[in-house]
Symmetry: C2
Subunit: 302 residues, 2 copies
Amino acid sequence: MKNIETIANEYKKLQQAIIKTLEEADEKGKFRNDKWTSELGTGVTSVISDGAIIEKGAVNFSYVKGKFSSGMEKILGEKASQYSATGISSILHPHNPWMPIIHMNVRYFALDNGTSWFGGGIDLTPHYINTTDAADFHQTLKDICDQYNSTFYPDFKKRADEYFYLPHRNETRGIGGIFFDRLKPNEENSLETLFKFTVSLAKQYPVIYCNLMKKHGRRPFSSQEKEWQNLRRGRYVEFNLVHDRGTKFGLESGGNIESILVSLPASATWKYNYEPEPGSKEEQTLLVLKKGINWVDGKTIE
Amino acid sequence: MKNIETIANEYKKLQQAIIKTLEEADEKGKFRNDKWTSELGTGVTSVISDGAIIEKGAVNFSYVKGKFSSGMEKILGEKASQYSATGISSILHPHNPWMPIIHMNVRYFALDNGTSWFGGGIDLTPHYINTTDAADFHQTLKDICDQYNSTFYPDFKKRADEYFYLPHRNETRGIGGIFFDRLKPNEENSLETLFKFTVSLAKQYPVIYCNLMKKHGRRPFSSQEKEWQNLRRGRYVEFNLVHDRGTKFGLESGGNIESILVSLPASATWKYNYEPEPGSKEEQTLLVLKKGINWVDGKTIE
């Protein structure tokens, strides 16, 4: 039976394994490990800047403990006096508009009353949606989920659609992926099983991105395609600053601001009333930034 | 005695006067008036793109009526069934890093229970702080305020410092200005007086900016100075998406998304752990992005 100490140790090793895989594929960029300690705990913020393919990215690990506040009690509906939490979170922004932005998070949250759960997910935000890549991406996630529980993929895919969504734009952030939270060990899914599930996801994460890097990382692109990428990054900024719960929580709780906002792209643009040309590949992408698309089976809207 | 109808009409005329003054000073850019009507009311969103000096800006007018919801009741501590609101709001983002970003808003809010008030302000966000400009700017605002009530400038200046502040960065957005809300007509300040005060502000607004355009609008700048401008714009985006009440209210209430987010700059950048060189002019600016600076009297921190 695992405790949070051993889970944190394994996540910490995984962080460095992810970094190694990404550095090998980028061939130029190096992550810089910034270790930090605070009154809450410790962490390693690892940031890459100006790689050959990855323009800006981070793979962060943290392990913290603290008082279970009345605010947390209210939100989580749990009674406890202390919490511990450990996790890895990562975002990668590429230079190349043909490459997607990717995001991954796995985390374990334990209360001193004995309750604990996992949360996390992986999601993809292409600047241009490639339906083959989208099907591959979702199939890969489905395959991992199915190894653990056949309900995971359909449940968690739906939750990603709900979560990675900009209501003020009526657009999904990208093609989604999987998102889960409050996944508690029970008779069906042991703590060991759930932990292994998060490890499988975190291991697959750099593999998914490295395959995309090989395929699209060095493709030529026009200034118009770069412009579109910057507009899409504007939406990513809107999502992260307006909606993302992790960012909000971090900003409100006084977390390390540079570690929190490292998720923002190197640059972004906004144009008033911008609409892509009818029939353009930009419009094709916008048209499928919708919830409920069955990407695995060839993007039929459910 | 004015009613909201006549106030709205005068604000609407003022909007076009502001636009005219700005267009003349820019010499190239033209505002495009987009009239809109919705179930709530009417408005004119006027946007300028790619002027000679103004890169992106808007001067928006609106006049709306609606049900006074229980949410509004709670926030405002007032009981009523209907509200009406009219106002002008404007943001101007320049190309040139030596030029500041400027923001102005005047608004009138009236309830069907007879209560009404004005709100608004003007604030300046220089990319590089010029203390002469800062003193002139605050002196101009103080002079207008003093014509109406000697308590206005000290009160509203303090409120601007509090409002235009990024707690997660411990930085003010810029050098502040004045900010006021719930300014209700009373024995001391009649409705007519308060209305004239907002008109004086709205009239002075383009004059302030046109003077700055003459002084800095065509100054040469380096790519390093442009880079700094883009980083400062990143902070502007953070403020508007994370803190600004008007933006939040607009996004949550389902307002016209393009009119609301036209406040965002054309572009912005984020760098992990960026710190300006010690002694540089960038650091000099950062050091005075603080609350409580008495700009009029030569920037002594109170």
